[in-house]
Each structure stands twice: as C-alpha cells, then as structure tokens.
Chain length 473, copies 2
Amino acid sequence: MNTVVTLLQSQLGSIVSTDQDELEACRLDRSGHRSESAPIALVHAATIADVQATMRIATETGTPVVIRGAGTGLAGAAIASHGEIVLSTLGMTRILEISEDDEIAVVEPGLINADLNAALVAKGLWFAPDPASRAISTVGGNIATNAGGLLCAKYGVTRESVLGLRIVLADGRLMSLGHRTVKGVTGLDLVGLMIGSEGTLGVIVEATVKLRRLPQGVPSTIGAYFPTVEAAARASSVISASGLRPAIMELLDPLAMSFIAEHLGIEVRAESFLLVQTDGEGAAAEATGALAIIRSLGGDATLTTDVAEGNRLMALRRSFHPAMEARGTVLIEDVCVPRSTLPAMFHAIGEISARYGVTIATVAHAGDGNLHPNFVYEGSADDGFAVPEHVWTAAHEMFVTALRLGGTLTGEHGVGILKKRWLRDELGDDQVDLQRDIKRVFDPSGILNPGKLFSVADESRPADAAAHGALTE
Amino acid sequence: MNTVVTLLQSQLGSIVSTDQDELEACRLDRSGHRSESAPIALVHAATIADVQATMRIATETGTPVVIRGAGTGLAGAAIASHGEIVLSTLGMTRILEISEDDEIAVVEPGLINADLNAALVAKGLWFAPDPASRAISTVGGNIATNAGGLLCAKYGVTRESVLGLRIVLADGRLMSLGHRTVKGVTGLDLVGLMIGSEGTLGVIVEATVKLRRLPQGVPSTIGAYFPTVEAAARASSVISASGLRPAIMELLDPLAMSFIAEHLGIEVRAESFLLVQTDGEGAAAEATGALAIIRSLGGDATLTTDVAEGNRLMALRRSFHPAMEARGTVLIEDVCVPRSTLPAMFHAIGEISARYGVTIATVAHAGDGNLHPNFVYEGSADDGFAVPEHVWTAAHEMFVTALRLGGTLTGEHGVGILKKRWLRDELGDDQVDLQRDIKRVFDPSGILNPGKLFSVADESRPADAAAHGALTE
C-alpha cells in the first residue's frame, strides 16, 4: 500500500493526506455505519487534473477508490475502509457560470447546495433539489445519490435539475455528458445513468444544472392534528388526488411528535401531525382547498400566512432528526410507496413495531409516498453502532411490505452498503446482473466504490438472519 | 432467410406477415428516407409472449430486428431493410390501469398518444408528452425517442412522464425497470437509459407513465408579428428569462409564414410570427406579461381568450408541415440551442440558406431553443428521395453552428440513420465507444436495430462530402 501512497504523494504533493484523524473520519457517514478500518490515503482534489491523476494511479495499481463529498450520505456509500483511497471533491467549490437567460448554472461538485442557492437568490433563481441536508451537503453528492427532500412532489428530484455532467472515468479520462439545452436526445442518456449511481461509475467533476425562478408570493402553512396516522395519511392522499400541489406535505406520527416535543421542551398533542405548505401565486387558494379537505377528513387544523408562525410549524419537522438522535442510535429508513397506499404502509409499520418490540418513529414526505421510519435502539461505539438482529428483521419485514404495496426499498437515500442485500428482491437477478455489467463497462477493473450498491462477490441475500451482521462491516 | 420466416410462422402463426405491401411500408418512416430493400417478415405482436418468441428466434438465428410502432419517426430509426425482421408493437394497445389517486397509467406500447389522452380526459387527467404527431404516434414510440413537442418548456419531455418500463431483452427475457412511485433510487436508472434509445437496447412492452391534472381555466393566446426573425427570437428569450412560463411558444420565420399562407389560401404579413399560449389558473396574468414584453420589443401583437380565435392562430402553426410538404421534398431538421442563442442561430440559418442556395423555412419551439429548419428540395422516388449533396453540406454547417453555440444535433427527433455520422462530433469518440459498449451489454450479438443511432462499422464521419450519399441508403 505504501507504493500507492508514495505514488499519490509524488504526483499530487500536499493534497494527499495520511493524517490518522482525517482517515478515521472517512470511516463514517450519516448512516450510522462505520467501516472496518481506515483507508490508506485521502486526496483533497482541487482540480479536475487532481482527480484524473488520482484515478490513473488507482487504475495502474488496482487500488479501490471511494469518492466522497461532505459525507452526509445515509446509506454508507461514501465510507471507506482498508486498502482504499478516498477521493474528496469537497474542495472543488467554484461556481463557474450562472446564466440568468438560460436558467442554468455550471458548478463544481464540492459546492454546498445552500451556497449555490445563496449565490442565486439575488437573481431570483433557485436550485430546487432540497435534501434535509442542504446546508451541509454538496451538489455533487446530491447528484450521486439523486437526492430528494421535502419539495419533490412539486419541484422534482435532483434528476430533473441536471442537464449535463463532466465525469472522470476509472482510468482517468475526462468525458462530457449531456448538454446545456432544455432538450437533447443525441445518443443514450448517460447523465441519467450517472445520477444516483453512488460513486460506482465515475467521478462527477462538473455539473450543468437547471435553475428555477424563485416562487413568488407569501407561502401558506397548515398544521393539522389527526386522531390516527392512517387518517392523516388519507388526508394527504386526498390532497394529492384533488390536484392541489403543495410545495411541502410532511406527516409525523404520534411517536415522532412526542419525541420532538420532549426534545424541544414544548407541549404537543399526542396525535399525528400533517404539515402542508403551499407556495407561488396560487398559495392562498391552494391552502384553502387543502384546509377544507383536512377538516372534512377529521383533521384539527390551523392555517397561517404569518412567516414566523409558518417557520415555527416547519421547525417541528426540522427537529425530527435531532430529536431521534437524542433518543438513542437510529437506523433511518427510506421506503417509498404509491401515495394511495400510505395509510396501509403506516398501518404495517405500527404492526411491525409491535411485533418486534422495536421503537419506530416515522416522518413521511407524504406528497411522494416516501416514508422515513426511524428505528431507535441502544447502539454502542464498541461494535461500530451495529444494528441489532431484531431491528434488521423488523426492517426486512418493512422492505418486503413496501415492495408488496408496489413500492421501493429507497426513495431518496440510496442503496450504499445499507440495502445492497435487498437489491435482488426489488430488481430481480437478471436486472442486477445487467446493472453490474453496465458498471463493468465504466469500470472494468472494479476499482470504483467496490461493495457499494452492488455486493463485491455479487452474492445473493443470505437466507439466515445471522448473516445480517455482515452489513455493518 | 426462409428458415427464419419458417421458424417465426411455425411458432407465431398468422401474426407473421410476408405480404409485400406490408413489408414495403416498413422501408419508410416520416424522415423521408427509404431503406435499400424490404425486410423479410413483419411480426404483428399482440402479447408480450409474441415479443419474447420473436426475440428468441432472432437471437437463435442471429437475425436483426427493427422494432416499429406507428412509423412516425423523423430520423429513420424504425425503417427496415433486407435480412431484417420488423417487430411491430402497434397491436399492443391496451390501457392496463389508470390510477387517479396515484396519477399513473399502465399501458401497452402500441397505444396511440391521443387515445390515452381521450381515455383520461373525463378523469381530468392528462399524459403531457405532446409531439406534433400525437394523433398518430404511439406511447412506446414517444418513449423510444424521448419525444418532445410544443409543451416541453412548461411540461417537460417524455423522460419526465415515465416511471417504469417492462422490456424484452434481445434474448427474449422479460425485465421490469423502475417503479410506480414518484421517487425511487434502487440501483442504476435503466428507465432513463431506455428512454430515447431508439430500439437499440430492448423492446418496450409496457410502460407505467406519470399523469398530470389537466390545466384549469381558459388559455390565452397571443399572435405577434415582428419585422425580423432575430427580434422575434429575442422576444421569446426575454419572455422565458422573465420567469413567465407559457405552455406554448412557437416562432415561425417569414418563409414559413408565406408557405403556410399559400397552402391555406389566406393572407398573412411577410414577417416573423411568434405564437404564445398560456394556460392554467394564471393564464391571463401570464399572457398580459408576455404581451407587454412583446410590444416593448417591437412586436405587433393581439391577445385573445376566445377559443375559436386561439384555435385559428394555433392552426397556422399546425399547418407548417403540410405546407412544407406541398412545396417539395423536405429534410426536417431539429437542432436545439440554449434559449439565449436563438437570435444567433436564426441569423446563422439565414446565412447558410443564402450561401448554399437552399430553401430553409424554420419553426422553433422557442421556449426550448429547439429549431426545426426545414430544407425544401426537389426529391425523386427513384433515388429514395435522397437528399442532394449541397443540402447535406448546408445541414452539416448548421449542425456545426448549433454545437458551437452550446447546442445539440437533435432536440427531440433522435439520431436514427439521419444523424449518426455526426454523433462523434457532439459526443466525442470516447463517449460513443462507451455508449456502444453499453449497448453490447443489452444486446451482445448486435441484433437490435443495427446501424441505427450507432454506425454498424462504428465508422467515423467521412471527411469527403461525396460520402454523404451513404446516409440515404
């Protein structure tokens, strides 16, 4: 391994770090997983040439590379272990161009989502992808995971906001994909293939992203309590089906609300909470429509156009993750189901929680049918915060239920190491094999993020529950 | 070849046609190109099993297959020649499911776009992809070409309306891609890869498409004359840049207007014409804003909310293609440039027309920067309506100009056989090779639409103009 580090240092100099604290930090992301041991080196790339040089050395020496941005991923795709190089693009933060006329920006991958939006706001423009991590996550990471967030039902996922990419291939070659235009159908859609590929196909070194005009007018915000989570889920389904298109529609179950209340030191009702925010010119009319639906379905609702009061309601939602983390170690899940099956999915989660004696608090992007059940348990740093067996068993049952309802394992967090064992359950053997063959076209020697998204040995999911521990490697 | 036909007939019976008129019809699409000779058989698939059986026989015998829907393509991707099987999915027309709650439909590929919308209108729903051919083109064909149309700037291209696909691979295996949910990031995005792949990767046998609510309210329509096409283009750019989002914004140059007037037997001004239609709740306000911009930039405009008058204005635009066809043989081009460069692109087209003495009438989806310059010439059935050399040379110069302005060879029609020689100019050698390698993963023996999108011999574009004739093979 020293050869590889020596090669990196001789060609790239001081941007190659072997500082143990820095390497240790690369064993973690926000998934709660920790890799077996530290990687061999961390390259702080500042330029495309740095990325190319790193990949050339990796190819020559057959050394695996983990591409890393801000490390905010929730599926373990950017954690690195022994023998691996971490290639960080966090230092590539430039905004290369903003075109107001064409409503596009060209940016480097390490740019923080919120920093891009800070640069756009004075121009009345906006990069719509809005993961909860937007203050700390990078545009490159948003693209590598096809990040979602609170605003997707109305404003789309990251896929809808990317027109073109420049990537560095495993062997160091630079390639431009896609275009600067609104439309373009020259050849196969490799931009789409890169988006959400979790570092397995190439290194994103530049992105041409589509911007939107900032919505005009004052947002309207509704907070509504419901006696059951199924009733709240039904109201959200009916709001979507009615054709109203809130910017935000978040559903918190009673357990989530009680944890948040305790965390914030406030009092809330021990009920389910539906939070709806409409924006744009039609905000007031849309909110009135949503309010009528909520009340007719048994919700106890208030509507506000006061910004401070709206922010207070939104803060409840944004306190969800800190409140969970204050309770213990958390496995954040991410299933997505057709909107109409939200009540059934919430019902099933309640049953699974009871059956396995697992604490599960859930928030859902209800307009998308995307649920984040949070499994709270007692974890320990000694075993890398490994998820206990009965929690995995409960999670497994939840995945199977989501698939049975026509849903998917992951709405926005990705597969990483967290869900790769269930990949074949959703995609089938033929498709997983086809996807691995496509990966091999990009990365014939398999040095790009091995063991993420796909299993290294391409093994099937082990039938015995005991094998679950391997996930937390 | 008889062996192949015999095999097909023995397994598939009467759905296998060798009728010479039917086979002859498969030599053409709407591109004006005609293949060298007729294919060997036409399979009228009615079921997925028919498609699988056809592909299994094709694989066993090494026989190329051209997948065909309604044959409305404009790039020659669905025309078939000697030794090839045509696999028609035009008979697979069922709507398998419409879910109002989840705003999705599951359909077979041969369903006509307009027939799907006819089934949706009573439910207040709508499949947004709106190619000019929507009355006669299939949903499967829309997907295979990532079809655009008049409404893309506001409502997106076909890519934005497809959630899942079932495909049959070259070897006959059936595979489900994507999902029924709004979001989903399990594995690589193979749905996106299939969309626009022009029959080179697999056979689309079912699609789960995303529906929209039909826009409410009365549309407003503006017709505006401008003294120069550059002025009209500038007005359209400014309307987009202002944040207004018309449903339709079409620009016709003076030549196009004069041909249309002659064709319809009406009088119009020999000027450029900008047609703007706004829809939805904000239609009136948006139209007022657009009108002010148009007038301040020198446009002579009228605004109407009268449906009949709006239709009369739209009919001018919809008469463009019939009017062109009445003038001679037409090469319909399809470059797309960043919106801000529309004036420059129109200027360049004028220069190219003058330099090569070629009649070029242009309509543009101005909100997208997507131009359709129509090259009108004297063609003859005897040489397969081959495009004359000087027309190809002029078209070549136009492609180069579009690329130089940051644009693309094709905004919505696709590559087919028409533009494959320019593929490397836009994508570069490395990317074309990578795309071909991806095709090989899906289709290792190369039987799916050989010579479309990619060149069979993977040849570079010949430097000499004389080689252009090969395009019209």
